[in-house]
């Protein structure tokens, strides 16, 4: 994956300066990270309005505050496991700017009085992280020792309770939620888990303050975020943008559309499909009408000649294969849901097919130790809304995607040309 320029006006923060991952240029640009007390950190995060960048978008200060108020010596974990196949931003950040992440980890660990910090990362990121930690050890930077734990390459391995289990030396599967991780996490200690990108923002915030932080983004959702843009774009990769950025600017930052676009999957595989509306603001408020959220910054562009239902069935099939294997409704329900979507996608029509998609969606919702079934259902339901016309087409035996519809049986297609559709680069006016 390549890193490309930020959208116009958005500016670069996490990806500013040298991106070779070395310590010297990092120290030359930023100097050492400041030390904060717990109260200072909570105030800083609250004033800045920083939200977690791992997907849930929870206010960062609340978790820190909860851990400060819990009994016991806290543990801090940076989560860079990134089990989401459509996301590469944590991996990119750990390769290009590992010292921002590690600075953030130290700021938080010291503010909380932790004696142990952990980084939970994918195999692919481990070498970069270890190299960075070695350089910091030689420079005497890290007051709180950092342990690296490798996350298995599974979708649910990055879920908070799965992470706690993995760092505690147990299998990386989610737990039934008896206590909050902030009260009893790693080996029973109060535990703060923050996504590595969130830690990177904390490293900058600690230096430049909340006012600076709020110069980018919206008043509800300040700051920048890393987006992983893939699918039908010219230059797939990781870009940095401010919340509220127009969808088309985000796609343009990844080289622009490779062809005319039909829809985009936003947030991640647990995210939501939205129609290809160029002016849609990429923010919590902007995406709410579509049941989508910025999530982990994932943007997957679907070409106008692709089949959204086929892509949805493929993703649902992937997610069904990624169940942890613990919870009956998820083990049984997700494969059934994926197979039913597969029938719809392949136009194996039978009476009640779409009603069965919704029945199975409702059946698995909320019935697991983690939100894997709920997230899968969010994505599926958004597809049934956004590709509503294609659902009707499939039930009638054809498909709105010209390349996939049997020419013999398909009604004559008018060009799929609502104003909302992007035109691809090099495509002339019609």
């Amino acid at each position: 994956m390549t890193t490309v320029d930020a959208p116009p006006g958005a500016g670069r923060r996490l990806l500013a300066g040298s991106t070779d991952g070395r310590l010297d240029p990092h120290l030359a640009r930023y100097a050492r990270a400041p030390r904060l007390t717990g109260a200072q950190l909570v105030a800083l995060l609250r004033d800045a309005g920083l939200t977690g960048r791992g997907g849930a978008g929870f206010p960062a200060w609340r978790k820190v505050d909860a851990v400060l108020g819990a009994n016991g010596v806290p543990v801090v974990v940076g989560n860079g496991s990134e089990g989401e196949p459509a996301s590469g931003k944590d991996r990119a950040l750990l390769a290009y700017q590992p010292h921002l992440v590690l600075d953030g980890l130290q700021v938080v660990a010291q503010a909380l009085g932790a004696r142990q910090a952990h980084l939970y990362v994918s195999t692919a990121a481990a070498a970069d992280v270890r190299r960075a930690l070695d350089a910091r050890r030689d420079a005497g930077l890290d007051a709180v020792p950092v342990t690296v734990t490798i996350a298995p390459d599974r979708f649910v391995a990055g879920e908070e309770s799965a992470l706690v289990n993995a760092v505690s030396g147990k299998p990386a599967v989610p737990s039934d939620k008896r206590l909050r991780v902030t009260e009893a996490g790693v080996n029973g200690s109060p535990t703060l888990v923050q996504n590595v990108e969130t830690l990177g923002h904390i490293a900058l915030l600690a230096r430049f303050g909340p006012q600076w932080f709020r110069e980018a983004g919206t008043s509800d959702e300040p700051g920048t975020f890393l987006a992983t843009v893939s699918g039908a774009v010219q230059a797939p990769g990781v870009v940095e943008a401010a919340y509220g950025v127009r969808l088309s600017d985000l796609v343009d930052a990844a080289g622009g559309p490779a062809t005319r676009l039909q829809a985009l999957l936003l947030g991640g595989y647990h995210g939501g499909w939205v129609p290809a509306l160029p002016d849609l603001p990429f923010s919590r408020a902007g995406l709410a009408p579509f049941g989508a959220t910025p999530g982990a910054g994932v943007v997957v562009a679907l070409a106008a000649d692709g089949c959204g239902l086929m892509e949805t069935a493929r993703i649902a099939g992937y997610l069904a294969g990624e169940v942890a294997g613990q919870c009956g409704p998820c083990i049984n329900g997700l494969p059934r849901l994926a197979a039913t979507l597969g029938d719809l996608a392949r136009r194996r029509v039978r009476p009640g097919l779409t009603a069965e998609v919704e029945r199975l969606s409702a059946l698995v919702s909320g019935r697991g130790a983690c939100r894997h079934p709920d997230g899968t259902v969010r994505m599926v339901r958004s597809a049934m809304r956004v590709f509503e016309a294609d659902v009707a087409a499939h039930l009638a035996g054809w498909c709105v995607a010209p390349s996939l519809s049997e020419p013999a049986s398909a009604p004559a297609l008018s060009s799929p040309g609502p104003a909302s559709f992007w035109r691809g680069r090099g495509e002339g006016e019609r």
Partner: protein, 75 residues
Amino acid sequence: MSENRLHIDWTACDGRGLCAELLPEILVEDDWGYPLARSGEVRPVVPAALRKNAERAVDQCPALALRLVGEILNR
């Protein structure tokens, strides 16, 4: 706060079906035999009249997968 909601530990439940037999007013079995709240709630409310039956279901669940919890989990 009284603990009047039924929580299912899905990592433990293996769908023996005893709870749905003891609490037919609250639970049914889903397609695969796992308990499903009639109300559609994730943690169904246990009315006072069914409290004793619910406690029995909690005690007798072979997988020890049932608990009575308060409005907010974690306690």
